[in-house]
Symmetry: C2
Subunit: 291 residues, 2 copies
């Protein structure tokens, strides 16, 4: 038996960074009080989702991991509460900018840095203006409470992310997120689609998955997005174990990583993979070509 | 607009091959009468699921595609009704045996042969005894009513199957299936897990998916399996459009392949893939190695 209690948090963000940090801390403390050991904070919670527009002044928000206020604050909180906290932040490294994440282990140690691999660019989600596609590749992180694999938001739409993390040994998949309405397609609600894609990752890779999304309506100069929350924790067959609607709050679920690992071996899907037949995955159009 | 009506059929099978063929034909005719143009028959419907045990006499059931009774019968029916029919059969080719499928186009022409890539081996699903892992790789087939990508049963558990077919240009994913209870784990019902994995494929690849599974309890000398049916058609966000429970029958749904294709382009997930970061997918354990 190796039980672990997972938590997804969700909240609204404003331009009052002190308030955002205080609210995120309140949610982490609430999750900890409910027994959570690995607690997921949402994507870029230090500020509103500035990527709703292409505005050069927002590059000033970026910091190195060492200088990031949220990284400093929440690694200290991880140490105090003895919980594992993936922390999303806007990273600057020399001339380059990334949508990044570090994981604070339960003693506050910062483990592994991950830079978002897949960068979206749709009306209202203008991330290709701000972030270079990540150069770290996928990686898993051995924490006090289990080996976790993190992607960031748009990464969650790609089966390649979840499968790569699973192959590298992840026991839990985690996705901090910022997704909501489409400013130029107000009739579109992608929330059920979003959830089913990730339920599929959990089911196909036979491991729990945590997604934390923001809530609230954020208005910028030319656009407005209502973030749809609906953060959730899926179990190893893709079932929803616990979830939220559009309130600020915490969802928790306890899973047994040993029991799930045994079921993953029994079911046999990793035994029967055939990489020699997966050539199309290494291309953009299905056709392997000579360089 | 390019509407197409898809159908999933499901039925019980016995050792009376004439009766199995007659029932499958009845279902295809019923689907056609409901307007279906691409109609999926379940896996290995010519006989009971003989793979529930390892018994050498069942190798005698295998035929070449040219000599297969079901291939002959249902390609003629495809021509008569002007429908597309993927046809699953137990294939012999010289000394080798495969779990195979050919697609009869709406004029009866046999297009592309596919040999099941991923072969299961669990108690009651003893396929590694009978079938070599397929050597064809994944392929898509241009039919009169759209470009379809077929996997066979266990292939449906692998995100690599669906993604490869999508990258090769599939517009619809189709999975003939034989899955039910686990003889040595009677408490286990994998049906919801099975469905969520494939809903995830539809959602992640933004295309409809059809799964046809058998029903009925089949008793062999040392084992008994109750096949759970629950065949379904998923839409391009992974939602269930139409499904069956455990009765013999047909489910149909009409989708617009042009509208879905436009949404797939808009959503941008194929634009943003990064094959250079997918090295772990080409391995069994996540670690690329020098040969």
């Amino acid at each position: 038996m190796r039980p672990v209690t997972l938590a997804a948090t969700q909240m609204a963000c404003t331009w009052d960074t002190d308030a955002n940090i205080a609210e995120a801390e309140r949610l982490v403390r609430a999750a900890h009080a409910s027994g959570a050991q690995i607690i997921l904070l949402q994507e870029l919670f230090e500020t509103p989702y500035f990527c709703s527009e292409q505005d050069a002044r927002f590059f000033d928000l970026a910091r190195s991991a060492a200088d990031s206020r949220v990284v400093q604050h929440f690694s200290a909180l991880a140490r105090e509460l003895e919980v594992v906290l993936p922390i999303s932040f806007f990273e600057r490294d020399g001339p380059a900018f990334f949508n990044s994440l570090v994981v604070a282990d339960a003693d506050g140690t910062l483990l592994g840095k991950y830079r978002k691999t897949h960068i979206p660019q749709n009306p209202g989600y203008e991330e290709k203006f701000y972030f270079s596609p990540g150069d770290t590749g996928f990686g898993v992180i051995d924490t006090r409470f289990g080996r976790i694999g993190c992607g960031i938001c748009w990464d969650q739409w790609f089966p390649e992310t979840a499968r790569s993390l699973a192959l590298l040994g992840a026991e839990v998949l985690m996705f901090p997120t910022a997704i909501g309405s489409e400013p130029e397609a107000p009739e579109l609600n992608s929330a059920p689609h979003w959830r089913r894609v990730m339920q599929g990752h959990a089911a196909a890779n036979i491991m729990p998955l945590v997604a934390s999304n923001r809530v609230g309506t954020e208005t910028a100069s030319r656009t407005e997005i209502t973030f749809y929350g609906t953060s959730f924790i899926a179990g190893h067959t893709g079932e929803v174990l616990s979830d939220l609607e559009v309130e600020s709050g915490v969802a928790t679920a306890t899973v047994d990583l040993d029991e799930i690992g045994q079921y993953r071996s029994y079911w046999g899907v990793f035994r029967d993979r055939r990489p020699e037949r997966y050539g199309p995955l290494m291309t953009l159009d299905g056709h392997t070509r000579r360089s």
